[in-house]
Structure formats: C-alpha cells, structure tokens
C-alpha cells in the first residue's frame, strides 16, 4: 500500500532514534554488568530488546507502505560513565523519542493514516512508561542516597 505524504519520512526518523536507543541501552546494560549491578543490567537489557522489537515493527510497516527503511543512519549514542549519568542520558533520549512519536501521531491524524497512528500510539505508551521508570530511579537516588540505591542493584530479583 502506498504511504500518505510525509509518513515514511517520519517513520524513518523514529527508526533512527530506535536504532540509536538499542545501542545506547545495550552498552549501558553491559557497563552495569561490568560494575556488578546485576539488577540494572537486566532492566536495561530488556529495554534494549524492547527497542529492537519496535525497530522491527517500524521496518515491517515502512516496507508495507512501499518505503525503504533507512538502517544506515544513527544519532549520537550518549554513554554515561556512572549510573545516574546513564539515567539522565537515557531520559533525554526517551524524551526526544516521545517528541518524535507525538509529531508522527499529529501528522498521521492530519493525513488520515490511522493504522500508522495507532502503531505510534502503542509505542508512545511504552516510552511514557519508561520515562516514568527512569524518573522514579532518579528520585529514589535523591531520597535514599546513591550508595543505598546502588547496593540494591547488586542482586537480581527472583
């Protein structure tokens, strides 16, 4: 099916953000593992896998709309050197992603592409949840102190 005007362009932008996020989460997860924070390692790795599923869905949808997925482009992968720094950079990435998704949703409404809009809305819901999770972690660090927070990240929950 042929895409409505501008839709492929927006989907490719979101794909680029997703591909960047996969790598950012991947390396953050690995760093947490290397530091011995098993719990965070698993949380962040799962997020990377979620982003991969989103990228997969976007590619499938772009092809369905007879577009060409751009797998070549990547934004800056922002790597944090401490756990709080990682959270802050991930929060920034998620907020940018939400901005893109919202733009896409508004555009799809305008050109009446409701299937794409629906897909983007599902993705936006996940991003919202993740923003909430990161904000909670940063707030926790404020409240209990970094040492206490980190010591709870050493063991993975059952």
């Amino acid at each position: 099916m042929k895409a409505k005007e501008g839709v492929i362009n927006i989907l490719n932008k979101i794909l680029t953000a997703d591909l960047t996020a996969i790598n950012q989460y991947f390396v953050h997860a690995k760093m947490c593992e290397n530091w011995g924070y098993e719990r965070l390692h698993h949380k962040v790795r799962d997020r990377s896998i979620d982003e991969m599923k989103d990228a997969d869905e976007l590619m499938g949808h772009i092809l369905y709309l007879e577009g060409v997925p751009n797998m070549q482009r990547m934004n800056a992968v922002q790597v944090g050197e401490t756990v709080p720094e990682q959270f802050k950079l991930d929060l920034k990435a998620e907020q940018e992603m939400l901005g893109l998704l919202n733009e896409g949703i508004v555009h799809c409404t305008k050109v009446a592409d409701f299937t794409t809009r629906h897909m983007l809305e599902d993705m936006a819901k996940d991003v919202d949840e993740h923003i909430d999770w990161i904000e909670t972690q940063l707030e926790l660090i404020e409240q209990v102190g970094l040492e206490n927070y980190l010591s709870e990240q050493i063991k993975k929950e059952e």
């Binding site: 991947f26 990228a55 997969d56 092809l63 997925p69 797998m71 990547m74 992968v77």
Partner: protein
C-alpha cells in the same frame, strides 16, 4: 584487566562490523517478510540474533579489558532488490567478517592474549558457517532454478 597492545582496536573493529551486521540482517529479514518469504525471514532474523549475541560477548570482553566500546560507528548497510542480491551482499559481508576475525586472531596470538583469541575463534566458526549457508543458497538456486527455490521459502 589491562588489554595487550592493539587488542582493543581489533575488538572495536569487530564490534562495528557486528553492529552493521545486525542492522543488515534485520533489514534483509524484514524485506523477505514483505515479499512473503516467511522461511527466509526467520533464517535471517535468527542471524541478526546471533550477531547481537556476538556484539554482546565482544562488548563484555572490551569492558573487562578496561576499554570503552564505541557503539556509534556503523559500516555501510547494503540492501538489494531481490533475494539473490540479498544473498550476494550477505556473502560478501560474512567474508569480510571472516577476514577481520582471522587478522584479529593472528594479532592476539602474537600479543600473547589467548583468552581473546579463544573467543574470536568461537566467533569465526559461526561466521564460516554463515559463509557456507549463503554459498549453499546461491548454489541451490543455480541447481533448482529461482522459481523453485523461492516457492520453497514461502512456508516456514
């Protein structure tokens, strides 16, 4: 543990190549899915998963060697207009991978880093199997004809 000279540079090259491979196979898998070749889609998806596992292993090892993995660099992702094109691109890619891994293995031997060498040797086994898989597909197409080959790829 500190890395021996040149080892981190080789591992970084491997990470970049494997990351490119992940993008490459995800794209090819999605294209095959779009064309209706379910079986190929699953094969190539599987490949993307394997390459992700490789990236994961190499990053772990780089961090262990006190390196900083660069996740930003990406090689060229080639695509194609037909299944055969995708196979040819895939074959070339895997051949480059094998060459790089062999160079890295030789370097590790010279530098006396046998744990890294061992890990790379495990990876080169996979890459050689991938080369073989692509060669087999291209040969099968020659033997049974493209239409027959493709019609076998519709069902998973």
């Amino acid at each position: 543990m500190k890395a021996k000279e040149g080892v981190l540079e080789f591992l970084q090259k491997v990470v970049t190549l494997e990351l490119t491979a992940v993008h490459h196979y995800l794209l090819h898998a999605a294209m095959c899915g779009n064309w209706g070749y379910e079986r190929l889609k699953h094969e190539l998806h599987e490949r993307a998963t394997e390459e992700t596992a490789h990236v994961s292993k190499v990053i772990d090892h780089m961090l262990y060697l006190e390196g900083a993995p660069d996740m930003q660099k990406l090689g060229s992702v080639h695509s194609g207009d037909s299944v055969q094109d995708l196979f040819k691109v895939g074959l070339k890619f895997e051949q480059e991978d094998v060459t790089l891994l062999r160079e890295a293995i030789a370097h590790c031997a010279k530098a006396g880093d046998f744990t890294t060498r061992h890990k790379l040797e495990d990876m080169v086994v996979d890459s050689e199997e991938h080369v073989d898989w692509f060669e087999t597909q291209l040969r099968t197409i020659k033997q049974v004809g493209l239409e027959n080959y493709l019609s076998e790829q519709i069902k998973k």
